[in-house]
Subunit: 392 residues, 2 copies
Amino acid sequence: MSISSFHPPKRTLMGPGPSDVNPRILEAMSRPTIGHLDPAFVGMMEEVKGLLQYAFQTKNALTMPVSAPGSAGMESCFVNLVEPGDKVIVCQNGVFGGRMKENVERCGGTAIMVQDAWGSAVDANKLEDALKANPDAGIVAFVHAETSTGAQSDAKTLVELAHKHDCLAIVDAVTSLGGTPLKVDEWGIDAIYSGTQKCLSCTPGISPVSFSEAAQKKISNRKHRVQSWFLDMNLVMGYWGAGAKRAYHHTAPINALYALHEALVILQDEGLENAWQRHQNNHLALRAGFEAMGLNFVVNEQDRLPQLNAVTIPDGVDDAAVRGQLLNDYNLEIGAGLGDLAGKVWRIGLMGYASNQTNVLFCLGALDAVMTEMGANINSGEAVKAASAHYK
Amino acid sequence: MSISSFHPPKRTLMGPGPSDVNPRILEAMSRPTIGHLDPAFVGMMEEVKGLLQYAFQTKNALTMPVSAPGSAGMESCFVNLVEPGDKVIVCQNGVFGGRMKENVERCGGTAIMVQDAWGSAVDANKLEDALKANPDAGIVAFVHAETSTGAQSDAKTLVELAHKHDCLAIVDAVTSLGGTPLKVDEWGIDAIYSGTQKCLSCTPGISPVSFSEAAQKKISNRKHRVQSWFLDMNLVMGYWGAGAKRAYHHTAPINALYALHEALVILQDEGLENAWQRHQNNHLALRAGFEAMGLNFVVNEQDRLPQLNAVTIPDGVDDAAVRGQLLNDYNLEIGAGLGDLAGKVWRIGLMGYASNQTNVLFCLGALDAVMTEMGANINSGEAVKAASAHYK
C-alpha cells in the first residue's frame, strides 16, 4: 500500500452545503496552529463570540461555536435543555424535524410531533393546538430553514406561541444564519444552532450556538447531569466563558476556528442586511431562469428560502444521470432530494460566497445544456437569458 | 465594532498538544472544499480508513475518524459500549482516567475505580484484584499514554487481563498514536480513540477511533439506543461504512479530513517504526539535556513516554513566569501541570513533526536562559551541550 497526497477537483458547490468557500477563509485556515490556551488565541475566541453575537443578532453571553458539525450543535441544544421525562413539542416539515425527535427521545424525553407537509412552512395553528393539548410541555422545537425542502417558517410567530404557553423555543438555523433575516433577541429564541458550511460559506465542521438567559437558567438548575460530557455547557463555558482564566475542557479545533473567524469578519464587513439582500437578489435571478426553463419550485412563493431552491425534476428526466453529468462535465454539484423527496427534486444552493451572479448563470446554463442533450421537455435556451435580464 | 482578520503569531508548540503542524498539512487543509458525498471525497475517505488501520495496526473494519476532537472520540467509545447498569473498571493514573469515569456515569453505568499515583503506570495487579472482586464487570478502560503526566502503561498486559475476565478493553491512545508502539490487533484492544493534534502533528479537531469485532457485536446487540445521535456508530457507519452507497449522516469536516489524510500519508511515508524510533531518539537527547541541567523527570525511566516529558519545576522557580517568558520572548509554548500536578511540573511535548533536533536544542537553550536569568538553581549552560552530544 502506498497512498499519495489528495488533490481534490475544483468544484462549484451549489448543493445544500457545503457551499463554495471564500478563498480568504481557506487561506486563514492554513495559518500556523497555536495553542488553545495561548493568550493570542483566547483574544481571537472573544472576537469570534462577538462576531457570532452580531450574526445571530443577540446579546446572549452564552454564544459560541461548538467544536463539531451542526448535528452536534443540534445535540448540544437538546442534551442541555431536555431532561428525562420532559415533554417537547417538535414541529416537523422535513428531514431535520425528524432528527430533533431522535434527539428528544435519546435524552429520555417525549416528543409530541406536529406534522406539516414537506415543502410547507410550519403551521402556527397546529402548533397552538398542540400547545393547548399539552400544557405540561416545556419546550417547542422547530427548523427555521428546512435544508431538505427549502421552506422557511415564521420563527417569530412560533417562538411567541411557545412563550405564551410557557415553553422555551429551540430553533434550527443551520441554513438560515447569514442568508436570511434571523433575529435571536428580537424574536426571543432560547436556544439556536447553526453550521459553518452554509451561508457563512466556511468549511464544514463547526456549529455556532446561542442560549438565552432563560435557557441558561434551565441548564444551571437541571436535576440530572447533562448526558454528554463533551457537549455539557456547564463545562464548555469554563473554556469559552468570559474572564482571563480559561479552564481546559477539550482541545479546540484551532484552525477551523481561524476559518470561522475569517468568515465572520467577511460577514461583518459586508453587513448582515446586505448579505440577506444579496441572497434574495440572486435567488430572484435564479427563479427567473427556472421559470423561463419551465421548472417548478417545491415551496410556495411566500415560504421560499432564497439560499436553498428546491425544484421539481421534470417527468422522464433521470435525476442521477443529470447530477452525474453536471459533476463530471461541469464540476458542478447540485443537491439531490432527501427522504420523501429523494429522486423527485433538486436542491440548488445559493449560499454565502456561492450566492453570486456567475454561479447563477453557470448553473442555469449547465442544467439547460445537460437536460436539452437528454431530450427533456424544457424551454431550452431561455433560462440564462431570463436570469441575465434580472441583473440588468 | 470592527474586527480584522486574525494573524496568529508563529509559535513553537512543545506542550501537550496541539504540537507543531507540518506545513504540508496546513497546505493540504487549504485545498478547495468539495461535497461530503462527492465520489472524489468518498475515495479519499477510503484511503483515510486504510491509513488509520495502518497507524493503529489493525484490520478492524470499523476504523474511522470521528468528526470532533479527542474528547468526543472518548465519548463515542463509552456511549456506544456502555449501557445503563453496566459495570466498568476504570484505571486512573492522571486526569484522563477521571474523564473516563465521568463518561461511564453519564451513560448510566457504574465506574469501579482502580487508582494509581499520578506519574505511575497502571498497576496490573490492582486491575486483576478489581476484576476478581467484580466478576460482573463487562468493560475495562485505561489510558495508554497519560497526557497529564507522561506515563505509559503496559496496554498489552492490561488488555490480556481484561479478556481473561471476559471484559472488553477501551483504550485512550490520544497521545500514543504515531509516537510510541501501539498494536491494536496484536494486543487485542476492543475500542480505541486518539487525537489528530499529538503525534500525527495534524491540526486539532478530529478523533480517530477503531472498534474490534467483539465491540461491534456489543454495539449491534445493545438493549438501549445509543444516547448520542451524533456519535451513534450504527448511524455513523452508514456514511463511513464500505460500499458505494453512502448515506448522509452529518456533514463531514471536509478540510479537516484533507489535513488528516496528509498527516497519515506523511506517517506512511516515514514508516511507523521509524516514527517511533525518532520520538525515542529525540526524547533521549532531551533527557540528556534535562539531566545535565539538573531537572528531574516525574515518571520512572521504564514508564516514560518519549513524546511527553514531565519534569519537576525546581524549588523557588515561578511556573507561570517561566512559561510566560518562554511564550513572549521565544514564541515557545511548553505545557503546565494539570490537576494534582498544576504548578509542580512542566510538560514538554516532542510530538510528531515537533519531535526533531532543532526543537530539542531550542527548548533546552531557552529554558536554560530564562531560568538562569531568574536565578534558578540549575547547571546553567550544560543542557544544550549534553543534548547536542547525543546527536553526534
